[in-house]
Each structure stands twice: as C-alpha cells, then as structure tokens.
Amino acid sequence: MASAATYTPIATYTVPSATATYTFTSIPQTYTDLVVIENGANTATGPNDNYLTFNGDSGTNYSRTLLYGNGTSALSGRGTSESFLYLAGYWTTSNATSVINIMNYSNTTTYKNVLAKDTNAGANAEFAVGLWRSTAAITSVLIGALAGSFAAGTTFTLYGIAAA
C-alpha cells in the first residue's frame, strides 16, 4: 500500500486593498485535486456572489446546482450555460469563508467538477456543485467578486492534494 503526505499549500494571497479579482497562475499539474479557501469580506453590503473562471475561459461553459439555507428556508437553485462559475456566494461586509474543491483538475479526459461550501453567519450556509465543460487541464483559477470588491485582508489560499 502506498502512502504519502499531501494537502500541500501551493500559493496564498492576501488582498492589500479592495480588488475585484485575483488569479492563481502556473498551477502545477502534479496533484489530483485542488482546494481553494477564501476567507474575508466584500466591500459592499450585498449579498454578493463570488465566482471562478478557469484558464481564462469566459465562454458559456459553466453550470451549477446549489443547496442553501438563509435562516428561514432551505432552498435549491441552478444556473446553466453561464460565463462564470457562481459557486460561493452571499458574501457581505461580514466575514465569510468559502472552501472550493476542484476535482481531478489536471486530467484531460473529463469535464471538471467542483464541490463548494460557503458559510456566512450573517447571511446563509450553502453547498454547491459546479461544472466546467472542458477537458483541458486547469492551469489558472480566477477568483472574482460579481459585485463590490474583496476587502483588504481577504485571503485566498490554494492547496494541492495528491492521490497515491
């Protein structure tokens, strides 16, 4: 049985002043899955959706299915043929965290699948699955705020998980 330590930090970025996007580039292809952890706030009251794009693709190749609770109800929603991957939403000026798992990101056989958890105690709790209809290996990940900007001090960390 093979065993190897993994869950390796690849890169981290702390927003120095309000900004709407940040991109992890030159992502190594030596892992099986990627994990993006976003922790921080938006400059706008919102709630505001965060989004991802891969490899600079802004075509309508993204879709998602959501499950979330807003303090009153449990709800589900869907987006199809979108130009961004809206997975981790409802960021406000209060601190929030999004954990985004990008599965099998470097394989060139299948479309890419993403699982996300988003928690904002002031707004909602959310799970989401996303799809990027491309078989290309993911080499860059753009994180964006659909409205407002990421507040100074917001952190983005990229991890790699390698299967034995």
């Binding site: 065993s3 056989t109 299948t110």
Partner: protein
Amino acid sequence: MILPGILASGISGHLGGNFTSLQTVTVGSGGASAINFSSIPSTYTHLQIRAFATISGQRFGVNFNGDNGSTYTNHFIYGGGSGAVAGASVSTVGANTIGFTSTGTYYNATICDILDYSNPNKYKTWKSLNGYDANGSGYIFMHSGLWSNTSAITSISLQASEGTSGSFSQYSTFALYGVK
C-alpha cells in the same frame, strides 16, 4: 448543536504529514461493481474518501468491515435545482448511500469524512458532500451516516449496486486519505 463531521473537510489544518494518501483505485475499461480499500491502518484519527465517478446505476453505498447486518443509517438533504428535500434511510442492510451519481460525460464528485474510525468505544459516523451538475440537471447532496458498530474500521467497500444494480465506469477514481 455542533456536528464535528460537518466541519472536517473544511479544516485547513489538513496539511503535510497530517493528511496522507493511503490508497487509490482508478476503474479500468471493464468497469467495477465495487471499490475495496483493505488493511486500513489504525494510526490516523479520521479518514477521507475523495471520489470522481460515474455509475451505471443510481447511487453508491458504503460498507464497513464486510458487515452485512442492518446496521447502517443515514439522513440527508439535497437540492435538485428547484427545491430542497430531506429524508432518511434507517437500518439498511449491508450498506448505506454515500452519494448519488451521474452517467456519461458528467462525473460526480464526492468527499466523505469518516470520523474517529479506529475508536473501539464509539459507533462510527460519517458525512458526505456529493453532487454532479450536467448543465441543466443534477443534484447536490449532504449525507450524515451512522454505522452502529464499535469495531475499528479496517476495510471499506464502495458498492455501485446500492439500491439498484450498477457498476462504476471507466476513469472513475477513488482515493482514501488518513487525517491525523
């Protein structure tokens, strides 16, 4: 009420030597009815399964230590794009659902945490975040599971025929990790 299992896969402390790849299975061209992880060492605190799969059936289940008794229970909530639904599957025989899956081009992703798996004083619990999206259809699931047995988990079988007959398709991958 705090549910530690719900938090497990989001903890960024799973780093370096604290998160270890133990076994990986990739399904070949003939498909596979089950994925088996055996001789699991007891030197970790938790286990995590990360799967990327398609299946010819509807859902796949988890079996521990070959136990085929009525010892498996879960509760779940899911969304299919238009409404949230909750349910339960109590005292099922031989396995219990870890996730629903897709077919064809659209792969399913699953991250399942099995908590305190080697502790001989507790029934074992697990939670699984699972889903697929097919650009207009798909589901996102959260399962909370119980195996009513105090034995340390030494083997895990992921069964493609849970509920309906089926098999895992080519290129499906299943990776088992140990978390300290």
